[in-house]
């Protein structure tokens, strides 16, 4: 799927049953990434929480914890859903970028390089999780999204968010090990958890994995994604025909051109006996 790498992909396992919605991770994210707590579009709103009801990711907020009231066993319950870039193993954003502004680090973090960005915003449209956001208010804007604290990852450290989680709802580690752990947790508590590790095979697999006791669809996760097949593979289903389109087109048109020209010449030589 991805290139020849020596380091195993890092990931984070999010256990939604353990999250209490404190929002520490969102604060840690802002502090580490030096982001403002103010809403640039609305200065009157002095302090902006990145956790609470109806919170949204934006260019200045790379992770949120959304407080959601959902139905479980006929009762209303609160669930707290952390959102950030899922760090796909075969990411759409990287594949659709026509200026190669995205790359994947050794640890599997999907990185964005504003230097190369043309600002077409195809990545924003193409992301299956609607993660990349734009600096709309800036004259020379960039795309913004969670970078998986790649400099921390390179040092073997956990990302800022996971390192501050007080309830162990965020567990950082090798993706393969986390996947095994997720399945072990589910099978140890089959009555509690939904039997699905979100991110295991969604769009070919993501480095962030989720387990939950409430159906993922109710928590705002897209549930109609291609399983075990990445979006780039979907595009490649067409782009692999490109050389054939050009070669075939050139051959066909040349052939028809020569044939029809010859036919005209013959027709003229025969003294225009043919129809109009």
């Amino acid at each position: 799927m991805s290139s020849k790498k020596t380091t195993p992909n890092k990931g984070v396992l999010v256990d939604l049953t353990k999250c209490v919605g404190c929002g520490s991770c969102t604060v840690a994210c802002k502090l580490w990434n030096n982001q403002s707590f103010q809403n640039p579009e609305n200065r009157e709103e002095e302090f902006r929480n990145a956790h609470g009801e109806n919170v949204k990711l934006d260019s200045n907020t790379w992770t949120t914890v959304e407080h959601m009231k959902v139905q479980k066993d006929g009762k209303e319950v609160w669930r707290y859903v952390k959102r950030q870039c899922m760090h796909c193993q075969d990411p759409s954003c990287k594949s659709v970028c026509f200026a190669n502004a995205f790359h994947i680090t050794e640890e599997g973090a999907v990185q964005y390089n504003p230097e190369l960005c043309v600002g077409c915003r195809y990545c924003m449209i193409a992301c299956p999780f609607d993660i990349p956001k734009y600096e709309w208010e800036k004259v020379m804007p960039s795309v913004m999204k969670c970078q998986f604290c790649s400099s921390k990852l390179a040092e073997g450290e956990a990302p800022a968010c996971a390192s501050v989680c007080p309830t162990n709802a965020l567990i950082f580690g090798d993706r393969e090990a986390l996947l095994a752990q997720a399945h072990a947790t589910i099978s140890a508590n089959p009555n509690l958890y939904i039997d699905h590790v979100y991110g295991e095979s969604e769009v070919g697999g993501t480095n962030w994995l989720y387990i939950s006791d409430v159906p993922f669809g109710d928590l705002g996760f897209p549930t109609n994604l291609p399983m075990g097949k990445s979006v780039p593979e979907n595009i490649h289903g067409f782009t692999r025909f490109t050389p054939f389109i050009f070669a075939g087109g050139a051959a066909l048109w040349t052939g028809v051109h020569l044939y029809s020209k010859r036919r005209h010449a013959v027709a003229e030589a025969e003294g225009n006996e043919k129809h109009d």
């Binding site: 043309v118 600002g119 077409c120 449209i125 800036k138 979006v231 067409f238 050009f246 028809v256 051109h257």
Partner: protein, 391 residues
């Protein structure tokens, strides 16, 4: 030709269009000065809006240049030659318009050259970009051939040695970007409504961009004839509708088979926004034009005009339905273009239209029809020549 006079008739409509364009320029400067967030209604949800929609439509309609070139320079159907030259012009102006809109639309316009040095070859957008640039270079060569015809016959004669090769390459390259435009939306299989989200999209985009060409040619021809008080050769134009109509039948069958095999046919008749818009799209793009083409009314000027306009409206609907209707369920109905987005688009269309008028009045884009710069005498002398060319 040293005494050649450049001429541009000034009419109130043209002054009006120029005024709109001038205002649009001010707005564009304002957009560069303040940024996209302040001037547009684009958002994190609706990252693509009216400008992208305009671009997708103009590229497809500018396909007129490529489909008419295939008909005249590859299949050598001589009778359509007078049309193909003007379609080349319309097409070129269209592509310039696309680039102008894009340079306002993209956030980092100063980085427009990056894909050349840091190519994202796996992106459909890369193919679109490269093909359009390559195609425009070819179009410039083709236009130089037209421009030198009277001004520099010697150069023109030399160009004829390699023009067939240029014509053929120029018929191959657009296959790439017209199809790739459809493949842009292959990246959103889970977001785009099931009616449109199909692996067939690139091929459907390619086919529709091809068969809308004759429709554009017909509308342009009827309008030009009206402009110059010329009779319309309905027989010739009707032949063109048949070429399109055959492709439309293929398109209709392909799309129907695609909907049936993906189990989406029920959604078409669900009487919701998506279903209704799709039916409208198919009606304007295929059903109505096919019917007109195979009825006697297709041989009248009115019928031909409806054929052309309906196909063009249908094509605009296909692009509108992918960019907006098919995405509205996922993204939410929160976008309507801002005044600036709409006005700048209209302003640049005005510029394109003025460019078309200026060029056709000063260069030989009408076989036998004098440019306004030439004498009335020449007009009468070449009247017969025009008729010969068109017959």
């Amino acid at each position: 030709m040293s005494s050649r006079r450049w001429n541009f008739r000034i009419t109130p409509v043209r002054i009006g269009m120029f005024a709109i364009f001038a205002l649009a320029i001010l707005m564009i400067l304002f957009r560069y000065y303040t940024g996209l967030g302040y001037t547009t209604n684009l958002s994190d949800e609706w990252a693509w809006g009216a400008w992208i929609m305009a671009d997708m439509n103009v590229i497809a309609l500018a396909g007129a240049g490529f489909s008419m070139a295939i008909i005249t320079h590859v299949f050598h159907v001589e009778k359509y030659k007078p049309l193909s030259r003007r379609c080349l012009l319309i097409s070129f102006i269209g592509y310039v318009l696309v680039l102008l809109i894009l340079i306002i639309e993209i956030g980092r316009w100063d980085n427009f050259w990056r894909p050349f040095v840091s190519p994202g070859i796996h992106s459909p957008m890369f193919e679109v970009y490269m093909c359009i640039v390559a195609y425009m270079i070819l179009q410039v060569i083709e236009l130089v051939e037209v421009g030198t015809e009277k001004v520099a016959p010697k150069v023109n004669h030399k160009m004829h040695k390699f023009m067939p090769v240029v014509f053929i390459i120029a018929c191959v390259v657009p296959l790439g970007h017209q199809a790739s435009l459809g493949s842009l939306y292959l990246a959103m299989p889970a977001k785009l409504d099931g009616i449109w989200a199909t692996q067939m999209m690139p091929w459907l985009y390619l086919l529709s961009a091809f068969f809308v060409g004759p429709a554009v040619a017909i509308v342009e021809n009827i309008w030009s004839n009206h402009r110059y008080n010329m009779p319309t050769d309905t027989k010739m134009l009707h032949g063109l509708t048949r070429i399109s109509a055959c492709c439309m039948v293929v398109y209709f069958v392909l799309k129907t088979v695609d909907l049936v095999t993906r189990g989406q046919i029920g959604n078409v008749f669900a009487f919701d926004l998506q279903g209704n818009m799709f039916i409208l799209e198919m009606f304007a793009l295929c059903i109505l034009p096919i019917i007109i083409s195979f009825l006697p009314v297709g041989k009248t000027v009115g019928g031909l005009l409806i054929f052309g306009l309906s196909t063009m409206v249908g094509l605009v609907l296909t692009r509108f339905n992918t960019v907006y209707t098919g995405m509205v369920e996922h993204l939410g109905a929160t976008y309507f273009p801002s005044f600036l987005e709409l006005f700048t688009t209209v302003g640049l269309f005005c510029l394109a239209f003025l460019a078309y008028l200026y060029i056709t009045e000063n260069f030989p884009f009408f076989y036998g029809v004098p440019t306004d710069a030439q004498d009335k005498e020449a007009a009468e002398a070449s009247e017969s020549g025009f008729n010969q060319a068109i017959m």
